[in-house]
């Protein structure tokens, strides 16, 4: 996380072209303990892999051995030929129960793996399946196996996309009434159902155990190593925060396509040479512009606002509870001002304009609830020699003379200046009695606005 870094207007010594440079630190962490690949003091690029987990533990097979052998749970361990930690092969007899002359029952291991647990309490044995390396996904011709049409495959699946299947498990079945006529498809490998193709009738089963890697995200220096987990990357940089974003971390060159913060982002501005770049618009991004940006292959779009319906329709993203950042939309979108038609803050636009052509790292991740995360544009200046600015905390208390912007109807988007801050709450049009401020709007009108509906500019 950036520690309270927010770019605000200022003319401190530590500025380049009117924007502030602060020390930005990012913690890059693995979800599980793994291997850290860099050393403290190393110089890293956004794509440098700083930590990885080379192998995630395989699927555990939990087998009710006692029940299968018809013995008491407490006798499980006594019947086992193997002990915890032993390696077993598929079809290898690992337990045997003898009851009288003909009462011999044997249990064969369903998989290659290591015995992880033998429980005398529940009668279960846990075998952890092992994989040496990542194996390619396997395609199964389920339409052929079930003797059905390709588009019918989906309705016969017992396990859906994303579900886990084990080797030899029946994952698709046609026909219920008589076993004789039932057609089934079995999984040739253990894995996760990845894809169902309605045209060919093939089902893809993939090994879920991909390598988990964490990249540096920023160009900078490794400041700190978190053992087995990751690193902290630090770099002097300019940060611009948006208000809402979508899409994952990415990086690319900033390309400003408009001349002023109130110019709309339209599709004709987005040319083929925008591919791989982070494009910056002024106010509203039209539906066609968003579509065009995705088609062209822009890494990111930074603009003032967009319409909710456009985002849902063009990008297929549901906003839900406003927790984003995991969308696979190819193009990361950062809205500086929110939704509807609104021009970008002049200062933010100036900063972005002055950074035109520079390499930036962007992240659309937004979380408005508890511990707000806002989307960000970070432009590193790794070799910046000057004095760094200290992150400024914005004073939320409103004062006479503050420049403000209204953020709710009926003055949504209008700028103004606070001319008085009445102590007593006052009644507004909705008849609610709330704390207000008196604002002189840019067009000369003076009006009372609820304090919660203005933000300091």
């Amino acid at each position: 996380m950036t520690r309270g870094v927010r770019s605000v207007a200022g003319s401190s010594l530590s500025s380049v072209d009117n924007h502030e440079i602060t020390m930005v630190r990012k913690t890059r962490r693995l979800p599980l303990p793994g291997e850290v690949l860099v050393k403290k003091g190393d110089r890293v690029e956004p794509d440098t892999v700083v930590a990885k987990i080379s192998l995630r533990p395989g699927i555990p097979w939990v087998v009710p051995v006692a029940r299968l052998l018809g013995i008491e749970a407490s006798d499980t361990e006594a019947c086992m030929f193997k002990k915890v930690g032993d390696r077993v092969k598929m079809k290898e007899v690992i337990a045997r129960a003898e009851k009288g002359l003909y009462g011999r029952k044997e249990f064969e291991s369903p998989t290659d793996g290591v015995i992880e647990d033998i429980s005398n309490r529940s009668g279960r044995v846990t075998i952890r399946e092992e994989f040496g390396k990542e194996e390619p996904p396997v395609k199964v011709d389920v339409a052929f196996e079930l003797q059905c049409k390709p588009h019918e495959v989906r309705q016969y699946l017992l396990r859906q996309i994303g579900d886990e299947v084990k080797k030899d498990q029946i994952f698709a079945k046609k026909g219920e009434t008589a076993a004789f006529f039932t057609k089934t498809a079995r999984a040739p490998i253990s894995g996760v159902i990845d894809e169902v193709d309605d045209r060919t009738g093939f089902v893809t089963i993939a090994r879920p155990f991909k390598e988990v890697v964490v990249k540096a995200y920023l160009r900078g220096l490794v400041e700190e190593i978190i053992p087995e987990r990751g690193v902290v990357v630090a770099v002097p940089a300019v940060t611009v925060n948006g208000i809402f974003g979508m899409g994952r971390e990415t990086h690319g060159e900033i390309k400003v396509l408009v001349d002023s913060p109130d110019q709309e982002l339209t599709p004709e501005l987005i040319t083929e040479d925008c591919a791989g770049k982070i494009i910056v618009g002024g106010s509203y991004a039209t539906n066609e512009a968003l579509k065009r940006a995705v088609e062209v292959g822009c890494k990111g779009v930074v603009c003032g606002t967009a319409s909710y319906l456009n985002i849902v329709n063009s990008l297929g993203v549901q906003l839900g509870v406003g927790i984003t950042g995991q969308e696979d939309i190819g193009t990361t979108v950062i809205l500086m001002e929110g939704f509807g038609h609104l021009s970008m803050r002049e200062h933010a636009f100036k900063v972005l304009k002055s950074l035109d052509g520079r390499e930036a790292s962007i992240n659309g991740a937004t979380q408005i609830r508890a511990g707000a995360i806002r989307p960000e544009v970070i432009v590193p200046f790794p070799a910046y020699p000057g004095e760094l600015a200290t992150p400024r905390v914005i004073d939320e208390e409103l004062k006479v003379g503050d420049r403000v912007r209204c953020i709710n109807d009926p003055y949504f988007g209008l700028m103004g200046e606070v001319i008085s801050v009445p102590r007593e709450p006052m009644k507004v049009e909705s008849e609610a009695k709330v704390p207000v401020v008196e604002v002189r709007l840019a067009d000369g009108r003076t009006t009372m606005v609820p304090r919660q509906n203005v933000e300091v500019w």
């Binding site: 429980s119 909710y308 906003l319 839900g320 609820p450």
Partner: protein, 636 residues
């Protein structure tokens, strides 16, 4: 406790919420306990403060400032007991900061022990991350992967009837242990596991899990198939929340030293207050707390308490989700003028990204309250589907299937039996007109028969809930006098009828001797002022298929209580029916609004003129031409 109550004259209560810390001061004035004042400050659990006590002290200082009497000494410590005009006698607190209490639940059978455990966890005020059961459709390895991913504060495990088999309980316990779940806060303590299953398996659970988890054994929450005993598990969760979970959060150590009774999770405290009230009034009560991110619904129906959380339905952070779940048409139906979908969507999304903004214009207030109706409706539907009761087995059929089905519990909410609905949360408590709150509750809960309506004045139910655990009488007194704002009584016959047909004839004997005799047609509303504390006798005669609790068409005589709104008679049918034609719908809405004085009618007319209803494209009308002739007789 009752003896101590005589000596207590001043009580301070705080609720440490995720965004604000609210403090209230209750004092004995004369013979009665009353709310004196209330102070609110931002919660300081996160950086840069990272100490909850900073916010608690600020909120207390705010109260001290308003009351012009010192509550904290120079070192910032609470002055206790009260001496002259300084300090307080008793201090309690609730907390939902840092995301509240998050739990994972494990049971044997999804619809029996796991369902009971789920209810126990929700009742204790927890957010339930996942419910693991032998028959939940996932393989053991998937369960293990899922448990590993979760970061619960507490695990609740149940399963088996007392004296039953222990093998499967061992299996589920092993699954949990193999997953090696980690606590959310810090790795320095063992994750607590509350075991509330078959008592015979207690030693077994200890032997399986004691090395990895901090095992706490309580009575079985399903000792028999037909018996549910959630109390001990719920109490154990409350104790653990205070002693283990909260102790990890910054600054809570000191808060725990300050309080006189255990800190409760905020929803747990509200729940216990609802239970207390249901007991005191001998009534079936439903309470709802609609917040920015979540909506909690509590019900106490014939002694059975249920709480549910709709984690993604709320009026600011989750408002986009309310819109997405409800859909445009459902929001639009409550609005008495034309609405542009794109504009609405953008406004809703902006409210989500700037959650603290409030509606300034009447138009936006109407839209916000339409969304609130949908959020309440969806939460209430969710609650009704989960509120179940396990009854003593009365097997009518011989098949095991019947028994099995009954063991899952029977749904308990019958709208006709509800006596009171209490609303809480900003959109209801702070609605500019109380009529708005009343209509929002009626529209979303759609009460049937005779139901009292009330709202929480300033959201002090959590404070009173935790106070109730020590001094139930004081909590009940303050709840009645200062917390509960009585809105009045809603009289709504259940049933459906054609608009314009006669639905109800009634006689109201007002307390001033006035007798009102009238009748009402289907699709109408009427309001009669009846003040707070006043009572009126009503004689109601529902017509035809309409029912007021005694059966279809049967008369009902009752005494109803007044409130700030009075008596509301609602003959719109259940579920509420709107005219199919948009112009008629808007006219009907305006009529209801005018009758109840919900919004200024001249404003509504102005909006209707500014944005008239657009004529709908004929192609959309699937029914085509309206059916007349003989079909019209069947159109009810």
């Amino acid at each position: 406790m009752a003896q101590g109550a005589r000596e207590i004259t001043s009580i301070l209560a705080t609720d440490v919420g995720s965004t604000t810390t609210k403090a209230i001061l209750i004092e004995k004035r004369g013979d009665e306990y009353r709310l004196i004042t209330r102070g609110e400050m931002p919660t300081t659990v996160e950086a840069p403060w990272e100490n909850v006590m900073v916010g608690v002290r600020k909120a207390i200082r705010r109260v001290a400032e308003l009351e012009q009497r010192p509550l904290l000494d120079d070192d910032g410590m609470l002055i206790r007991p009260k001496q002259d005009n300084r300090g307080v006698d008793f201090y309690v607190s609730t907390s939902s900061a840092g995301g509240g209490l998050q739990m994972m639940v494990a049971g044997l059978v999804k619809d029996i022990s796991a369902a009971s455990a789920h209810r126990a966890a929700l009742g204790a005020g927890a957010v339930v991350l996942d419910v693991i059961a032998i028959d939940d459709g996932r393989s053991t390895s998937e369960q293990i992967t899922r448990i590993t991913e979760l970061r619960p504060d507490i695990i609740l495990m149940s399963g088996g009837v007392d004296g039953g088999s222990t093998t499967y309980i061992a299996a589920i316990a092993e699954t949990v242990v193999q997953a090696n779940p980690q606590p959310r806060f810090g790795a320095t303590y063992k994750l607590p596991l509350v075991y509330a299953g078959n008592v015979d398996a207690q030693d077994l659970i200890q032997s399986i899990a004691a090395n990895e988890l901090d095992v706490h054994l309580v009575d079985n929450l399903r000792p028999r198939h037909d018996l549910e005993n959630l109390g001990p598990a719920r109490e154990a969760i409350h104790d653990l929340f205070m002693n283990h979970v909260m102790a990890q959060a910054p600054g809570y150590g000191q808060l725990m030293e300050w309080v006189d009774v255990t800190i409760m999770p905020t929803p747990g405290a509200v729940g216990s207050l609802i239970m207390l009230m249901a007991e005191k009034y001998h009534a079936n009560i439903v309470g709802v707390d609609i917040g920015g991110a979540t909506t909690d619904v509590f019900s106490s129906v014939e002694g059975t308490f249920t709480r549910t959380v709709s984690a993604n339905l709320g009026m600011s952070y989750s408002i986009t989700n309310v819109y997405e779940e409800a859909g445009f048409e459902n929001v639009r139906r409550w609005i008495p003028f034309e609405l542009d979908e794109e504009g609405l969507c953008d406004w809703v999304s902006n409210k989500m990204v700037r959650p603290t903004t409030i509606p300034q214009t009447m138009e936006r207030l109407i839209i916000e309250q339409a969304l609130a109706r949908e959020a309440l409706r969806l939460s209430w539907e969710h609650h009704k589907s989960l509120a179940k009761k396990v009854e003593a087995e009365q097997v009518e059929g011989w098949s095991t299937q019947t028994k099995w089905h009954r063991a899952g519990g029977t749904e308990i909410i019958e709208m006709m039996k509800l006596n009171m609905v209490v609303g809480s949360g900003g959109v209801l408590s702070h609605a500019p007109r109380r009529e708005q709150a009343a209509l929002m509750i009626i529209d979303s809960f759609q009460p049937e028969g005779i139901t009292q309506l009330a709202v929480d004045s300033i959201f002090m139910m959590p404070h009173l809930g935790v106070l109730g655990s020590a001094y139930p009488e004081i909590a009940a007194e303050v709840f009645d006098k200062d917390c509960l704002v009585r809105l009045g009584t809603c009289i709504a016959p259940a049933g459906k009828g054609r608009m314009g047909r006669k639905c109800l004839t009634y006689t109201i004997h007002m307390p001033n001797g006035e007798v009102i005799k009238d009748e009402l047609n289907c699709g109408a509303m009427r309001r009669y002022p009846l003040g707070v504390g006043e009572k009126a006798k009503v004689e109601l005669h529902p017509i035809g298929a309409f029912d007021l609790g005694e059966g279809k068409g049967k008369p009902v005589n009752a005494e109803v209580e007044g409130g700030l709104v009075g008596i509301i008679i609602d003959t719109r049918g259940r579920p509420i029916e709107f005219p199919a034609d948009d112009r008629e719908r808007v006219a009907k809405l305006a009529e209801w609004i005018e009758t109840l004085n919900v919004y200024p009618i001249e404003m509504i007319r102005k909006y209707q003129e500014e944005s008239p209803i657009k004529s709908r494209d004929k192609g959309d009308d699937k029914g085509g031409k309206k059916r007349g002739g003989i079909f019209s007789l069947f159109r009810r």
